[in-house]
């Protein structure tokens, strides 16, 4: 069972940033539940094997002021995949630094090491004004402008700056199957 944590402040953004993740999981008959981060109940965590943290819109940076809602992540060892905003959150929880860099649309990403089935040059969909660099994460992929895929050096925590719910959807099912 997968827990999808929604990061969108605007209700209408559910359809753009969360539903596409749900649809990929549904297609492969992977069970999930979606909850906004502000409604997370610590007692439910034991139900879930893995966690996906969604992205949100370019203008929505409210999650950056709400990092305390995610502090529980530091205490768990379950696989977590952070997408865009989700990657920012993971990096910032582990001493990362927020940096400004905008990428929008299809972008070439080079995978230095295989990452959930992605390797070498891959066209990815980008939608971000920021990214996070943390020395506690190993870098697996970069675009011309910034890092794109990372894994925590000790925990099974993964982050992608690009949006696999738009292009390279298989990454989500490979993650769900690890």
């Amino acid at each position: 069972m997968i827990l999808i944590i929604q990061c969108c402040r605007e209700k209408l953004h559910y359809f753009e940033f969360v539903k596409p993740i749900e649809d990929v999981l549904k297609k492969d008959e992977i069970l999930f539940e979606s909850v906004h981060y502000s409604s997370l109940n610590k007692r439910v965590f034991s139900k879930f094997d893995k966690i996906i943290i969604s992205g949100t819109s370019l203008k929505d940076n409210f999650f950056l002021q709400d990092l305390e809602y995610f502090s529980w992540l530091k205490k768990i060892d379950k696989p977590v995949l952070g997408i865009c905003a989700g990657m920012h959150i993971l990096g910032l929880l582990f001493n990362g630094v927020l940096k400004r860099r905008t990428e929008i649309g299809l972008t070439d990403v080079f995978f230095e090491k295989e990452f959930f089935g992605l390797k070498n040059n891959v066209e990815c969909y980008e939608l971000h004004n920021f990214y996070v660099e943390s020395s506690e994460f190993e870098v697996f992929a970069r675009s011309r402008n910034c890092l794109q895929a990372v894994k925590h050096k000790e925990k099974p925590f993964y982050g992608v700056l690009f949006h696999p719910e738009v292009r390279n959807k298989r990454l989500l099912t490979v993650f769900a199957g690890i």
């Binding site: 605007e10 209700k11 209408l12 953004h13 359809f15 753009e16 539903k19 596409p20 649809d23 819109s57 370019l58 203008k59 929505d60 905008t102 929008i104 649309g105 299809l106 969909y125 939608l127 004004n129 719910e165 738009v166 292009r167």
Partner: protein, 222 residues
């Protein structure tokens, strides 16, 4: 939140407005781009001026921006008209009916990002059969007004999106890879009725032109 909707009068932009309204967003105005280029990469072109009638029956003001349809110039025109909506209607967000095209979606995202506006794409990445089923479930009366891919032909003009239509496009999807909701530009549609409209529209005139697998039906509605 006050929003402007990029509105072509077709099924996707109309259903995006429907979803926005359903979730409490104030769609303050519709923006339509009338492109002189029938092959525009960005904008739906058949019967675009008939959006005036849709705007009337929705009770939502319409801004029409004309553009020559040159590739990057039409983006400048789009930016100008969004700026107008920002001033005249104090919008904070823009709603689009983008489903699959990263080309269209990323260009609108860039414009909104530069202008400090939210960009909403509530149909983004929807399964196209699911989208067609939702249109039927929500009582959208949608008619095909152009086709531009093999094996679609003149006989598809004027067809309604209903269960039979879905059955037929499923066959074409399986055999020829036709996008079932026309997201590859295989066909364009016009909405004659939906829960947003105070009354349904009726086609009172149609001009059909084209050849082979490229046909358009310019309609007049009342």
């Amino acid at each position: 939140m006050k929003c402007a909707a990029l509105f072509s009068g077709g099924k996707d932009s109309t259903y995006a407005v429907f979803l926005a309204r359903k979730h409490g967003y104030d769609v303050s105005c519709l923006i339509s781009i009338a492109s002189e280029n029938p092959d525009s990469y960005m904008f739906h072109t058949p019967s675009i001026l008939q959006v005036k009638k849709q705007s009337e029956v929705m009770g939502v003001p319409l801004i029409i921006q004309r553009t020559m349809g040159e590739k990057e110039k039409e983006l400048k025109d789009l930016k100008e008209v969004i700026q107008k909506a920002k001033i005249d209607f104090e919008i904070e967000g823009v709603i689009t009916g983008s489903v699959e095209s990263a080309y269209q979606a990323s260009r609108v995202q860039r414009i909104c990002n530069e202008m400090g506006l939210e960009c909403f794409n509530p149909l983004w990445q929807w399964d196209q059969f699911e989208l067609l089923q939702e249109l039927i479930r929500e009582h959208f009366d949608v008619v095909v007004i152009s086709v531009s891919a093999y094996p679609l032909d003149k006989s598809w003009l004027g067809r309604r999106i209903d269960e039979y239509f879905i059955k037929e496009v499923r066959k074409l999807f399986n055999r020829f890879g036709i996008n079932p909701a026309g997201e590859g530009g295989e066909f364009e549609t016009f909405v004659l009725g939906c829960p947003l409209f105070r009354r349904s529209l009726t086609i009172v005139d149609k001009q059909v032109s084209g050849k082979d697998n490229s046909w358009r039906m310019e309609i007049t509605v009342l």
